[in-house]
Symmetry: C2
Subunit: 312 residues, 2 copies
Amino acid sequence: MVEAPLFDRVAIIGAGLIGSSIARAARETGAARSLVLYDRSEDVREEASRLGLGEVAGTLEAVCRDADCVILCVPVGAVEETAAAIAPYLKPGAILTDVGSVKESPLNAMKAHCPASVHLIPGHPIAGTEKSGPAAGFATLFQNTWHILTPLPDENEAYRGAVDRLASFWEALGSRVEIMDAARHDRVLAITSHLPHLIAYNIVSTAYDMESVGEGEVVKYSAGGFRDFTRIAASDPTMWRDVFLHNKEAVLETLGRFSEDLAALQRAIRWGDGDTLMQEFARARGIRKAIIEAGQDTAETNFGRNRNGKKD
Amino acid sequence: MVEAPLFDRVAIIGAGLIGSSIARAARETGAARSLVLYDRSEDVREEASRLGLGEVAGTLEAVCRDADCVILCVPVGAVEETAAAIAPYLKPGAILTDVGSVKESPLNAMKAHCPASVHLIPGHPIAGTEKSGPAAGFATLFQNTWHILTPLPDENEAYRGAVDRLASFWEALGSRVEIMDAARHDRVLAITSHLPHLIAYNIVSTAYDMESVGEGEVVKYSAGGFRDFTRIAASDPTMWRDVFLHNKEAVLETLGRFSEDLAALQRAIRWGDGDTLMQEFARARGIRKAIIEAGQDTAETNFGRNRNGKKD
């Protein structure tokens, strides 16, 4: 529990995995005095009510009313439209943030609509599972994860105070907060998150289409390595489509390098060049070791975890 | 525990992760009346003794003496040399098997050296972790995993009896046994295991070489998906080099399809074709669902697990 709430009223727009987890975590930790959710889907709003996630508003106007922190938890592709729709209802002095996996293009989209009296501070929790929807969220999702904020280069004291307050809110939810430039965020995440997801989706598709290997066999012998990819590839398709469309340049650049490197391995296999394979494979252990030493591979990842903290 | 030992004396050649796990499992389950290990490295032999894995022989001749089942637990590239070296010491009527991740080329290599009086029955446990060496093994490694046997098309009754006995041995260790043609095994594993490892090694290399993203950042934000790849890419480099060199045709064919499919996704990203991305990503969920329904994604994988059954 925090000593005092960081915000009087937090509004969460989009009650999926991330939005519903923020609601649960904010209530459990006392990080928000009151909390209200909205989702554009009536079914999701009803489910959020049924799950007891908090007060559920029926309109964008109602969810923003009196909120001193509004968190957009919608796919990256819906950020601009949502920001435009809520702009008239934002309270002066409020914070507007998001949780998108891409930062530069949504930042520009939000900036175009955000009133000058509102503090726009984009953010991205490096947390998630492959599940979606309000029932998939859980209060400890953000524990021991990084939360990246990409604030504007604004020297204004009130703005800097707002950034501090938002950082404290995420720390209350269990995250460690890092400040980063939006463009840099997008380059870093292209390799640590976006490309891995693209590759995982792709290998599952390739397996699906192998006429010479039955789907049943792929499933049966998936423990050989494939299974770890299918878990990542079960992530929300809409969210990931938007990530790739909105971080196009960084993803294409990273993907180009990946394909070049893969072509080199392919050539080494074709020509029986064991030394090159050995050298590349041995190098990979170094990064793994660094991850373990940095404590980034704690007991488990959240992939495969449900809201009771249990694995599938 | 099994009712009666399946073999009087099992010889394990190669005391790494798999060899040492077989030794532990065979003792715990009583699947072998006696057991002896050999490793070409004196250091590994000493470690195996110190770990109390069983009797440790100092030579290939000594390890094979009186053994009615000899299990080669060496990298695929060392199978031929080892089979040739032990051939004179194999007891008539004994079983010679292996645990290699590739089956067709090692089968031919072993066949060239195996005496006619010995039952050659290649095998492959779909089990493992990213760790190596005798200390990394554990007795439950094979629990609820598949073990594939690729016997020769031999209608001989004694041979069929030997296949049954070897299958029962692996079942005693906790595996479910499947009989498969060696060439088919290699095609199936190319997609479910070999390609995933190649891709994982490759993405870690690509990340390593990104000048615009520091290694520290890759490590720090690895929870976004990258971390799951580094775990697979921490697997034994020698073992995997040999897999790719010895399953060249199937791996190149599968890799060619993967690259084509990836180029299509790349094109969709470049041209902003969200429908294609959406369609491909949505499809991947189907395979994931099938894996969960088939119970192939039980509580956890063995990746990241050490011999106490604990995660790193």
